[in-house]
């Protein structure tokens, strides 16, 4: 029995290795704020959110499949939350079970019966959820799950479970089948169910009774009693193991189901939070990775919104052919924030989530990478530049056509001319290889060079300088201007008597 809510044909694998660039993505796109909002303090939700977000899907059908389940989840939040909670309660109850450490058949049997009780309770509640919502949900994933639960866990099956649990009490003794080992001792004891008694008294009396020999131990024969119970244990052992493993199988089924539900419960949590903030969300329209049409309206940095606890200004990006988006302009004008919004939207799209925007049409990318300027070891300029190049080289190892990379003030740790030349060479190569590039830069030589180079068609966005001291965080389409506004900012921060208000970086 499988839940298959994340992939149509296989389990969601929490153990799958994260892509090599995962740590950079988390740091550069500030993903932990996002995943923590999804988790709401639940470690499993956090783990699953992290995994799903970083492990992008490259399959349009799969993304639509998840979007459909998520839409159902938003319509019937109780169905998913109830299923998630009841499996969680089973997990918690299992943790409280005191399990013996030594494998003694009697103890194993005892422990297994207790675990069985817990998991069967959970299965019954799960059936109830399936009965309640089975006919209302529309997504393929949830319809299939609920139907499976109703078919496999019908009343007959629950009766069967009860019968087995009753058998396990062995009220009429036990029967062991065996043969002789090379030392004439019994080998491979198998516990059997005695054959049903003949019903007809007539046949019972006249049936030929099989030959047998029996012996009753003297009540004072303690060693004999010990030996007999040891023998019994050998038979019970196999059955206790079977029951123990069965209970564990059911338990693992519940664990697996809970893991698959976790992504959607996390999505529900995030959805609730953003709705409270009045921040818009939209289900994106995914396009094949070869497409270059991109339409983002009102896209915002979701982690900034979550941190500030309010709705923030969104930006638009409309492009229909360019592999390159070049972002220039004023410091603290919302460039990095926009780059983050781009990256977040892409990851959220490719895991089946809604995106933080009003409208989103975008193609799948074959792997998202970030190359952001790093603040650390700023003292060692030479080392910092080497570090940048080394990081870039590692990224290139993983980049593929139709992949995407976000640069944030990269290659600026050297002088402008050298940095510009490297940036130009790197970007030209990437674009030629059909890799999508979004680049925030102060390197005027570089930006201007791209602008004048007909072989590098690019979309230029520009952060506007504050109007009367107020920053708009709005990016407009516009070619790079020769000077940055850093000087203004420097003057403002260090020479103006008034401290500036908090804002995005």
């Amino acid at each position: 029995m499988k839940a298959h809510l994340m992939h149509q044909d296989r389990d969601f694998n929490l153990r799958a290795p994260a892509p090599a660039q995962a740590a950079d993505l988390v740091q550069d796109l500030a993903l932990s704020t996002l995943t923590q909002a999804m988790a709401g303090g639940d470690p499993l939700l956090l783990e699953v959110a992290n995994k799903a977000l970083l492990d992008s899907s490259f399959d349009l059908d799969e993304i639509r499949f998840r979007q459909d389940v998520l839409k159902d989840a938003i319509r019937f939040p109780d169905a998913l939350r109830e299923a998630y909670n009841l499996t969680g309660e089973a997990m918690a109850a299992e943790k409280k079970l005191w399990r013996s450490h030594t494998n003694h058949p009697t103890l194993v049997l005892w422990d297994s019966l207790h675990l069985m009780e817990i998991v069967v309770t959970a299965l019954k509640r799960l059936r109830h959820v399936a009965d309640t919502h089975g006919d209302r949900v529309q997504s393929e994933g949830l319809r299939r799950l609920f139907t499976m639960l109703r078919v496999e866990l019908d009343d007959t099956y629950f009766d069967g479970i009860q019968q087995h649990l009753k058998n396990m009490q062995f009220r009429s003794g036990i029967l062991l089948a065996t043969g002789l080992d090379p030392g004439n001792k019994g080998r491979d004891y198998v516990l059997c169910l005695p054959k049903a008694q003949e019903v007809s008294w007539f046949r019972r009396i006249f049936r030929k009774r099989p030959k047998d020999f029996s012996y009753t131990l003297d009540p004072r024969d303690e060693n004999g009693a010990k030996a007999l119970s040891d023998l019994k244990d050998r038979g019970l052992d196999v059955v206790a193991n079977a029951l123990g493993q069965s209970a564990e199988h059911i338990f693992n089924f519940l664990v697996m189901l809970r893991t698959e539900l976790a992504f959607y419960v996390g999505a529900l949590n995030l959805h609730d939070r953003l709705r409270q903030l009045g921040a818009p969300t939209a289900f994106p329209v995914p396009l094949p990775s070869r497409e270059r049409r991109q339409e983002l309206r009102g896209a915002y940095d979701v982690t900034l919104a979550l941190n500030l606890g309010r709705k923030i200004v969104g930006n638009d990006l409309l492009s229909d052919r360019a592999n390159l988006v070049l972002i220039t302009g004023a410091n603290q004008g919302g460039k990095t924030t926009f780059l983050r919004a781009l990256g977040q939207a892409q990851l959220m799209l490719q895991c089946g989530l809604f995106v933080p925007a009003e409208v989103c049409v975008g193609h799948l990318c074959q792997g998202l990478f970030t190359h952001f300027k790093r603040e650390e070891d700023a003292s060692m300029t030479r080392g910092k530049f080497a570090e940048e190049l080394e990081r870039m080289s590692r990224i290139v190892d993983g980049l593929k056509p139709d992949g995407m990379i976000l640069f944030n003030e990269s290659f600026a740790a050297t002088n402008e001319r050298e940095g510009s030349e490297i940036a130009r060479q790197v970007v030209s190569a990437l674009v030629a290889k059909d890799i999508q590039v979004a680049y925030v830069t102060h390197l005027y030589d570089f930006a201007h060079g791209v602008h004048d180079d007909p072989r590098l068609p690019a979309l230029f966005l520009r952060a506007e300088r504050p109007v009367e001291g107020r920053r708009t965080f709005k990016l407009e389409v516009g070619e790079p201007l020769p000077t940055s506004f850093g000087l203004d900012l420097f003057r403002q921060l260090l020479e103006d008597p008034l401290p500036s208000a908090a804002g995005g970086s």
Binding site: T178, G179, N184, L193, F213, L217, H249
Partner: protein, 509 residues
């Protein structure tokens, strides 16, 4: 039909009994370490005596070389190994039968032992036939074995054992337990309940789960409940059990002495081949030496100290190989040169190849012509022998005297650091006399010394020198090469590595 021995051409009793004395030479040339390592995993066979008794007769040595060559063939080796494993099992089963009192169980262990024994004999007989051994030893043994395996006594033993065993292993029964009563009955197709439970819950299976089965303490004996059950089983199935009892009575001593002797003696070869296999894999060469008493023109190419190589290969360190060659009237190799340069190792290896060669074993080296010596005498410095220098010298002289009075022209003499405890002048005088005596005996030998004078004493001595590699910082090569003794060689190469030689200094200044 008779078979003498796989180890001795003329048969006869080989060295037996535990605690074979370790001969005097063994410790000096680290041969005791080799024997320990070879026999370590085969204590039960008591093999050390074999390795401490080199042969005197060439034909006996050739007999072993042939057997050893046969055992280097994979098929034959595997077959013999399988046979020995089976024989070990036979002994274990018999031991078990001896420990157990309850007849129904004792008889079964006995039957098991006989079954494995019969399998062992038949398997080996078949394999030997198909692998066509070339050695006199294996061919004789194969004929003997075929004859034995086809004998009436053996075939009836084998068939009877097989029949009874089959019947016993096929019977099945049930024990039902309720309270203090148990009931034994023939098995009647009752359903395996553990499987039924597993099948019922199969649909939930996600992956591997913990194995909850218990570890039951298994012991070969039985408690009285088990005995009672076995007794009931014997009542339910009377035929095989009465046959089992009869088998025990009719075949009291089924082991045949020549077979068990072969099992022990062939370990000599298996043990040695097993010991040398990792060295062989490490690229070291072994060869079957030519042995003779007619000439003392001995030589070996790429030979090495087996005890040292064993340790080095285990540690994945390289092993240095050397050559020696004596021609015409040359008798004594005199080795001089820097300490820690491999001189003693060379001397030991020289003695080792001779001992191994006379045991009939392949010896370290690419090729070798060796002397069929009668006794090996070694004289190594004994540090713990005496406290003061005078005592030490006296002890040394006495040991040397003993050697010189016993040795003859067929002896092998290895002398390591003679008279190191006295003055150079006295040592030279005494050592010259000692070596002179050895040369008079016309015995073969090696002498490791710091006395350069010994190297050029006579046309019968050959000078060899341990060397250093100048390109590395006074690193030693452990190569011993044939060249005149030169006490300065080491000092010069050391100077060269510091670029302080005359030529170097001219260039630098």
């Amino acid at each position: 039909m008779e078979f003498k021995s796989i180890l001795y051409l003329e048969g006869g009793p080989g060295p037996t009994g535990a605690g074979t004395p370790v001969p005097a030479f063994a410790r000096d040339i680290n041969f005791d370490q080799i024997v320990e390592a070879i026999t370590a995993s085969r204590q039960e066979y008591d093999l050390k005596g074999f390795f401490y008794a080199p042969l005197q007769e060439l034909d006996g040595i050739l007999y072993r070389q042939e057997v050893m060559r046969d055992l280097e063939l994979d098929d034959l080796n595997a077959a013999v190994r399988a046979f020995c494993t089976q024989m070990t099992t036979v002994r274990q089963h018999l031991l078990q039968a001896g420990k157990i009192d309850y007849p129904l169980q004792k008889e079964r262990w006995y039957l098991e032992a006989a079954t494995v024994y019969c399998d062992a004999v038949q398997d080996l007989s078949r394999s030997l036939e198909s692998s066509r051994p070339k050695s006199r030893g294996f061919r004789a043994f194969q004929q003997f074995l075929t004859h034995y395996a086809e004998s009436a006594g053996f075939t009836s033993l084998s068939q009877e054992a097989g029949r009874i065993r089959q019947a016993l292993s096929e019977l099945t029964y049930t024990v039902s337990i309720q309270g203090a009563t148990f009931r034994v009955r023939k098995y009647d197709q009752e359903e395996d309940y553990g499987q039924a439970v597993a099948r019922f819950f199969e649909k939930f299976k996600q992956g591997a789960v913990k194995d909850w089965r218990s570890q039951f303490r298994e012991w070969p004996g039985m408690n009285h409940v088990e005995e009672k059950i076995l007794f009931f089983v014997s009542q339910l199935f009377p035929e095989p059990f009465s046959a089992l009892a009869a088998f025990h009575v009719n075949h009291v001593e089924f082991l045949f002495e020549p077979i068990t002797a072969f099992d022990r003696e062939v370990q000599f070869y298996l043990a040695y081949l097993e010991f040398t296999a990792p060295l062989d894999q490490a690229g070291l060469k072994f060869c079957y030496p030519n042995l003779t008493r007619t000439t003392k023109a001995v030589h070996a190419v790429d030979f090495f100290d087996l005890a040292l190589a064993h340790k080095l290969v285990r540690a994945k360190a390289p092993v240095v190989v050397n050559d020696f060659r004596l021609e015409g009237q040359e008798r004594i190799i005199v080795i001089t040169g820097p300490n820690q340069g491999g001189k003693t190792t060379f001397a030991r290896a020289f003695a080792q190849v001779h001992v191994l060669g006379c045991l009939g074993c392949p010896v370290p080296g690419r090729e070798a012509q060796l002397f069929l010596y009668d006794r090996l005498y070694t004289h190594f410095e004994q540090e713990e022998a005496a406290a003061n220098l005078h005592g030490k010298l006296q002890d040394e002289l006495m040991r040397m005297h003993a050697i010189l009075s016993q040795a003859n022209s067929n002896s092998l003499i290895v002398i390591n650091e003679i008279f190191a405890s006295t003055t150079w002048q006295d040592a030279t005088a005494m050592a010259t006399k000692v070596i002179g005596r050895v040369l008079e005996l016309d015995a073969l030998g090696v002498c490791v010394t710091f006395l350069d004078e010994l190297a050029g004493m006579s046309a019968k001595t050959v000078s060899m020198v341990s060397t250093v590699a100048p390109e590395h910082d006074h690193a030693r090569t452990f190569r011993i090469v044939r060249q005149p003794a030169n006490g300065l060689a080491y000092a010069l190469s050391l100077a060269a590595s510091y670029r302080l030689t005359y030529d170097q200094l001219l260039e630098r200044l």
